[in-house]
């Protein structure tokens, strides 16, 4: 029988550059904060699911790959199941999905979901020189960086929408400008200041038409949450946050996007762009019984303008005919993170944090929890919030989505 699962504690280590800090140290700070928030003792945890480091070829090694175990050894080994989950940028959301399943299944009662990562050292050059690693083949023979791929997707999107890049340049800068207003109010964010549209448009071009400030950077950081049954949560806190649904999803054969790190796509009729994200959203709406118009606050990919526009339309389940709605919403600031009709990324997003690969997905849900509880301080969304959705971005078409709601 499936049980209801709730989040009782969340905690972060600030995002930024911390070259002197071990991954475990950042993880420990996030765990301490989550335990304190949950009023749970470390020794009550009966299962751990952790984001596995992806940089074991270059740094981190086995202690990064088996991050859950490394964190356990550092914090105090409990002789409990530890699952190390690696799903690229979808890791955080996948960690939550696994934690959710651990408790929903009845096999665990108190689970730590955690991820700590030093993505700030840079992670996109492929780490192997192995000809069986298509990522290496692709990169060494095409030089395709992440921003280059994202720029090509945006360019094609605007070509199909008939949006002129020069005329609508401000639209490309607007997400960053809006997001920075939230980031400026987030003590955990790396970039705690506002960026104006003008500043963004003056920053150097990195991959046409994307300029430097339109693309998120990479950071070090950590995020943790304590999950338990809803029943137990209600006894511990007067603000339990219910996980209505959590899942990760992979792509469908025939996915049109030449997703990183592939070198080609083989589009098939009837398979939509971002089949992974679309299915993740579909699954999580089905699990939760929610419709897009019931989502009060969204945390989604904002790594580039392409992500911002494209994923917004995925979350809202807009039809192909409605493509371009995201741009119109941004123009009118309907997605402003704090004041928008549909607030997007009140955390400030990867835009304000920089991306921490394995922890991003967890940080996003931490933000939803704070917002739902009314604990987001200066970036608290004023309108009534009941339900939030978080969705990640991911390599190879890995994607994870989570729906949470107030359970009081």
């Amino acid at each position: 029988m499936q049980r209801d699962v709730a989040i009782v504690g969340v905690g972060l280590h600030p995002w930024g550059r911390y070259p002197e800090k071990k991954m475990q140290e950042m993880g420990a700070v996030a765990i301490i904060n989550a335990l304190k928030d949950a009023k749970i003792k470390w020794t009550e945890i009966d299962g751990i699911v952790a984001g596995a480091y992806h940089w074991d070829h270059v740094y981190g090694g086995m202690y990064g790959l088996l991050a859950g175990n490394a964190l356990s050894m550092a914090f105090g080994e409990l002789n409990v199941p530890v699952y190390n989950v690696a799903n690229a940028c979808a890791t955080g959301g996948s960690v939550i999905s696994v934690g959710y399943m651990m408790i929903a299944s009845g096999l665990h009662d108190v689970v730590l979901a955690v991820a700590a990562d030093k993505s700030g050292l840079g992670f996109f050059p492929p780490k192997s020189r192995d000809k069986d690693d298509v990522d290496y083949v692709r990169y060494s023979m095409t030089g395709e960086t992440n921003p280059a791929y994202w720029a090509m997707e945006l360019r094609r999107r605007w070509f199909e929408l008939g949006l002129d890049e020069k005329e609508n340049e401000r639209l490309l800068a607007k997400p960053k400008a809006m997001l920075s207003e939230a980031g400026a109010r987030n003590p955990y964010a790396r970039y705690k200041r506002k960026f104006t549209i003008e500043e963004v448009l003056k920053s150097p071009m990195v991959a046409d038409p994307f300029r430097l400030y339109m693309i998120c950077s990479t950071s070090d950081g950590a995020a943790a949450m304590i999950l338990t049954t809803l029943e137990k949560a209600k006894k511990i806190t007067d603000k339990p946050v219910l996980i209505e649904g959590a899942t990760c999803v992979s792509s469908k054969f025939g996915e049109p996007c030449t997703r990183l790190p592939t070198m080609s796509s083989f589009p098939r009729h009837g398979v939509p762009r971002l089949s992974d994200a679309r299915k993740a959203v579909e699954r999580v709406y089905k699990l939760s019984g929610r419709r897009p118009d019931e989502i009060d606050v969204i945390e989604q990919p904002d790594h580039s303008p392409w992500h911002y526009f494209e994923y917004l339309e995925v979350v809202l389940q807009l039809s192909e005919n409605e493509r371009g709605t995201a741009e119109k919403m941004v123009e009118k600031e309907e997605t402003h993170p704090l004041t928008g009709k549909v607030p997007v990324c009140p955390s400030g997003g990867a835009s304000s944090f920089g991306e921490v690969l394995t922890a991003d997905g967890i940080m996003r849900v931490c933000e939803l929890v704070w917002q739902l509880r009314g604990q987001a301080g200066e970036r608290q969304i004023k309108k009534d919030l009941k339900v939030g959705l978080a969705i990640t971005y991911g390599y190879m078409g890995n994607n994870a989505a989570v729906v949470v709601s107030k359970a009081w």
């Binding site: 030089g143 791929y149 991959a207 796509s265 083989f266």
Partner: protein, 140 residues
């Protein structure tokens, strides 16, 4: 000729080489026709049960530019000729239905929908060899 360096692909098996008419090498399922690039020996079609019946095929050398950008900064840990010059990257749609990522031969005059053709060019060299990759060249 004496003194000429050996010209080798950066990674073997991506395009035919040496060749007067180099082509990208793909895998094609003999049962359902599903294509993989780079070539994989397994059929990627979940509906196809004939999983290990894949032949090697050479792809069309002409296609249309589906999208493009200009990479303006040196990609980290990416070997190419020095000093760095911005280069074009594109996604090209070929008649077989594949969309393929690749460098472009130019940063000028690029347009979505333009016809492009596969060429092989040196990306960098060392004392012994010239290292080659495939690129798409606009046909005006």
């Amino acid at each position: 000729m004496l003194g000429d360096k050996k010209r080798v692909p950066i990674v073997e098996g991506i395009f035919t080489w040496p060749s007067e008419d180099p082509r990208l090498i793909a895998g094609k399922c003999k049962s359902c026709g599903a294509l993989t690039f780079p070539k994989m020996p397994i059929c990627p079609n979940p509906e196809c049960d004939d999983k290990l019946n894949v032949e090697e095929v050479l792809l069309s050398k002409r296609g249309k530019l589906w999208s493009w950008t200009i990479q303006r900064y040196q990609p980290p840990a990416f070997r190419m000729a020095e000093p760095f010059k911005p280069f074009g990257i594109g996604i090209v749609e070929i008649p077989e239905g594949l969309r393929i990522v690749g460098m472009l031969t130019t940063t000028e005059g690029l347009r979505i929908g333009m016809d492009v053709e596969l060429v092989i060019e040196k990306l960098y060299e060392d004392e012994e060899k010239e290292y080659l990759t495939y690129k798409w060249k606009p046909i005006y």
